[in-house]
């Protein structure tokens, strides 16, 4: 549904995303993992058009359609095509109700936003869609609650709900579980599993239990490069991946460092 070819983004001297070829298939759930600063969020920003790549291209294929180049699209254009994202830090409309948050997102897809002489009430279809989505993410009872007064867990659900509005084909979920307590995390995992049924999902997630549990596929970014991409088990056993996660620090070397560090004794 979406693929990148040689995608590269440089900030000054730093290469945040380095020559990434990646493709996400229909209704596939792929987890994107990697240490902090590996370039995951930059990758998302490139896919949605928030950032323009230094090199390479992004293409998108709607259901039953042909590939189109979306490299130079603006964020609102990729959104209208059907690529939606959620954010790592809750990023919704704070004083609007949960319902209005999703409704206004749904409205973006109907082409009615420029009808400034009509009352919003004249477009019940968006409200209906918003209510359905709120039900789906388990916020049906909180429709009239302002977003800023929801609990953190509920906000994370709303974050996904806003991304679901307008029936996207591709969902980019940036750490939906960030900061969610253990007792509430199961419901979010259920939600991720549920939305993956009818969307292509690219999930950034740090909790490996969840990654291993829900993913069809796992891709690993390290210092901007895609160093592994395959089924969860294979990736977990990949030597390069383990090294990446250990930050290149080999505990066996510590005897060299120990000479002047004086910590060797404690570790042994």
């Amino acid at each position: 549904m979406i693929r990148t070819t040689g995608l590269t983004k440089r900030f000054g001297g730093l290469t945040a995303v380095d020559d990434v070829d990646f493709e996400l298939g229909e209704n596939q759930l792929c987890s994107l993992i990697g240490p902090n600063g590996a370039g995951k969020t930059t990758f998302f920003n490139l896919l949605t058009g928030t950032l323009a790549p230094s090199e390479g291209s992004v293409e998108y294929r709607p259901r039953d359609g042909d590939w189109v180049d979306v490299t130079d699209d603006d964020p609102h254009e990729t959104a209208l095509r059907g690529i939606h994202r959620s954010y790592q830090i809750t990023n919704v409309f704070p004083t609007a109700t949960a319902l209005e948050n999703v409704r206004v997102a749904a409205q973006a897809h109907g082409g009615d936003a420029w009808k400034l002489w009509r009352n919003v009430g004249a477009f019940p279809e968006y409200e209906r869609e918003a209510r359905e989505i709120l039900e789906r993410v388990g916020l049906g009872a909180e429709a009239e609650t302002p977003a800023e007064t929801l609990s953190h867990g509920q906000k994370r659900h709303l974050e996904v709900a806003v991304a679901l509005a307008g029936d996207p084909n591709v969902l980019l979920l940036d750490e939906p579980t960030a900061g969610v307590s253990s007792d509430a995390i199961d419901r979010l995992v259920e939600l991720i599993r549920d939305v993956a049924e009818d969307h292509a999902v690219l999930l950034v997630e740090h909790n490996m239990d969840i990654v291993m549990d829900v993913s069809d596929r796992v891709a690993v970014l390290h210092q901007g490069e895609l160093i592994a991409d395959g089924n969860p088990q294979a990736v977990r056993e990949d030597r390069t991946v383990q090294e990446a996660y250990l930050g290149g620090y080999d505990p066996g070397e510590e005897t060299n460092a120990g000479g002047d560090a004086g910590t060797g004794g404690e570790a042994a």
Partner: protein, 236 residues
């Protein structure tokens, strides 16, 4: 146990980001001279713990004590003046200030500023050549050195070090580890690090944090080679 109170003690600390309940009753203690690691996955509250100690994210419940003295609710700069140094995530250089100025800012007003700066440059000779350069122009590893040196020029006996290896190339990580290792002998250290083996190497004891609570603690050496523990708690 000596009669002295611990250098740092957290007792049932609850902290929030806005409405988000991040720390759910953290208890930990670091004795004077001890080096302790705080480990856990991303987003479990490690950085927030350090911020709560410094009063940057003041705890809503619980107490933070420095050498037995309650500092909960005290202003950050007051806490810092009681000898707490911070080496934050992503280093946070004053990028438009020169290396030397970065160090001067951190020196207490009553200290001999020039002498302190020279001491710090002696400790990190690699920085000497760059003392007049803007800190923002340095490489990541050099910035990390400045960040550590900056925490040292104050009269600090407790260092809070957050993810020192993050985003650094492997050979630079080794340099940073060396630097921290040297330090570890002279000060009390609370180290947050995702790199589990490295954290274990540098410390005497560890606390494992999960969902805003300490779920396990023990001797660093005992688990340093224990792959099962690594897998179970860090899922790496």
């Amino acid at each position: 146990m000596s009669g002295d109170p611990p250098a740092l003690e957290l007792d049932g600390v609850h902290s929030y980001y806005g409405e988000s309940h991040v720390l759910r009753g953290v208890d930990l203690a670091v004795e004077t001279g001890e080096n302790v690691a705080l480990v856990g996955r991303n987003g479990v509250g490690k950085t927030t713990t350090l911020r709560s100690i410094l009063g940057l994210t003041p705890p809503r419940e619980g107490t933070v004590r420095l050498h037995g003295e309650d500092v909960t609710g005290v202003e950050t700069h007051e806490i810092a003046r009681r000898g707490v140094g911070w080496v934050p995530e992503e280093r946070r250089m004053f990028s438009h200030l020169s290396v030397e100025e970065n160090l001067r800012v951190a020196t207490p007003p009553d200290a001999d500023v020039n002498a302190r700066v020279e001491e710090a440059l002696d400790a990190f000779p690699a920085l000497r050549d760059h003392r007049t350069r803007d800190a923002g122009d340095l490489s990541g590893g050099q910035q990390q050195m400045v960040s550590i040196a900056r925490a040292l020029v104050g009269d600090n006996d407790l260092l809070l070090v957050d993810e020192p290896s993050e985003g650094l190339a492997p050979f630079i990580v080794k340099e940073v580890v060396d630097a921290l290792g040297t330090l570890a002998d002279d000060v009390t250290l609370l180290l947050v690090e995702q790199n589990f083996p490295m954290a274990m190497d540098l410390t005497d004891r560890f606390y494992l944090l999960d969902h805003g609570e300490v779920v396990e603690s023990g001797q660093s050496g005992a688990v340093a080679r224990d792959d099962e523990t690594i897998r179970r708690y860090l899922s790496a």
